[in-house]
Symmetry: C4
Subunit: 197 residues, 4 copies
């Protein structure tokens, strides 16, 4: 299985997920402002999830960038990641429609947590295949961003029933953490290119 | 991030947006003509939005044509453009279902305006990366078409509550303005090719 | 605009159309056979439209095969074709849900007719660009298949109100006519290859 | 018709099918746990179908890997496979919403059976085109996995009305059988590469 087809399929699924989410923004029946206003929470949760899928698309590309050979394990780890991301439209719609209620907020965080763990698993498998001294292994390093994200997701899921606003803030915080694209791999690739004179 | 993957992802999202819009054209329950007729406004707004997405797809290609390297800022500016365009199916459906009522017409124009501003931002970032004397910078020039569009969108949003028919006409006018594909870049590329003897 | 991107975008839209049609096959509420049986007409119309989109996908590829340069006119003629094909899921769902009633059957034929005319227009523009002695022009020749299709569509639309079963049969007949992929272009390309010794 | 375009179109359709299935997971109206629990069967059937589409995507790639020329018959056999797979979201949703009732379970198995037969047909056509001593023919060999799958599907469809749980177990069993990617072709390709010194 060539890397290109894995990338193309993943891109296709991510493009569909990001676009299908907008279908939860159901066209209201009235034409007045008070028909539109109840949609505001759905809209806000759509914005948040759009950013998250954008982040995953971007980082996913960096992750595969250094990959040479797609094994069966990597292929299924990739599908596993897409599976959890495919649940995001559902979690987004449920959270938005219920105006950021406690349980939907916790479920939203759970989906994000599972996607993050699936991403970690994929990363581990690629590093295992490419070697501990590969560009990706060096680039990821101690992966503090990844670790911070899982911790924050766990906290957010745990506090959702009591301080739902805190969970929401943590989701926004993690998104902001990652919004800056992962330049670690790019930087190392440049370093490597410089070292080969 | 290679340019090809950015193009492929954008094309995927645009292809989904343009096709998903047709889902707002809900299958009516009766089989008679009076079951079909109320769908006419939804159909007309679908035609308009189809043309707009076609225009964006076309111009987006010209925009990226001269790009050499995709930075993180360009990547997110591109996602930002796709975000606003992803709201077009919602705005189209709402405007169509309410038979071009005032508020939905204004919201439709607002989405078009935000997409146009997102396109401008992306254009600026690409020119900044490629240099003021790049092919794109020369091709865009004073960008009177872009400026006219924003102005017309603003007027259309402002007049929607009073002269809704005027706003609608302005949306059609802007679409006609752009329907002619942006040959400026193509022409300059040809000039450049001729200059290199 | 490269031919590849036009092909990729068209393929994307066609893939979405062919898959979105299945959404009209709404999941029934009961679990018994009498909940499933009313879906039979929707299923049959889905099969018919699936075959039609398959035919268009296949012939569209042959059409673009000989194309060298994508002009603005060809680009918009292509989008125009995709527009009419994008209405097929709606027409399919309406015809199926109303158990092949007269008006939905006529509308279905109208959409097929418009798509066929859009295909003809695209074919004409490509031949005009490539020249009357191009491979495509020779391959299309008198285009009796295309002409027969339009004629049969027109007859089907006209008779739908009185002999709906005849219209349905004609749609199936035209599909069978085209199900055999258009080997004319392939054959000529082979002839040409043989002539160059 | 190049192999690449056949692959790209199939990948597009499969990516849409896998993502559209999640739309059957309808956002519930309440925000409490008892609004979420009834969705559990829909979720479980979604997981099963996700795995099945993943398996088809993976094996489809191996199948086309050794193909050199796409004939009209292969093209339509491929569309025929996609047709049956496109019915999986419907069958999944119906089975999930009716909590794995007898008839929907049987229909689900019937769709899987038809897809498996379509896959077999495609495999046969490719082997016929490539020759009985081709890599694919040797790789497939006696195809015990394929034969076991059809047998198990037939048993599952037959027993669904009486022992529905058995049918469900068989669907899971077949998925597990195939979850291990088909290394036969890969292995033979490696052997072949070794034989060419």
């Amino acid at each position: 299985m060539g890397k290109n087809r894995l990338e193309a399929f993943s891109d296709g699924v991510l493009a569909i997920i990001i676009t299908i989410m907008v279908l939860e923004l159901k066209v209201p029946h009235g034409a007045a402002l008070d028909a539109l206003l109840p949609l505001l929470p759905v809209f806000l949760s759509y914005v948040l999830s759009f950013v998250y899928i954008g982040i995953y698309w971007n980082n996913h590309h960096h992750l595969l960038h250094t990959l040479h050979r797609v094994s069966g394990a990597i292929l299924w780890a990739n599908l596993h990641l897409l599976f959890w991301l495919s649940l995001l439209p559902f979690a987004t719609g449920w959270m938005g429609e219920n105006h950021f209620a406690a349980l939907p907020t916790a479920i939203y965080g759970l989906v994000l947590l599972m996607a993050a763990l699936a991403y970690l698993l994929l990363q581990r498998l690629i590093i295992a295949a490419e070697g501990e001294d590969s560009v990706l292994a060096q680039a990821v390093g101690r992966d503090w961003k990844g670790k911070a994200s899982w911790l924050l997701y766990v906290v957010a899921v745990g506090t959702a029933s009591r301080w739902t606003w805190l969970s929401q803030s943590l989701y926004v915080l993690v998104a902001l953490l990652w919004l800056i694209p992962d330049r670690r791999i790019e930087r190392l690739l440049q370093l490597q290119a410089q070292e080969i004179p």
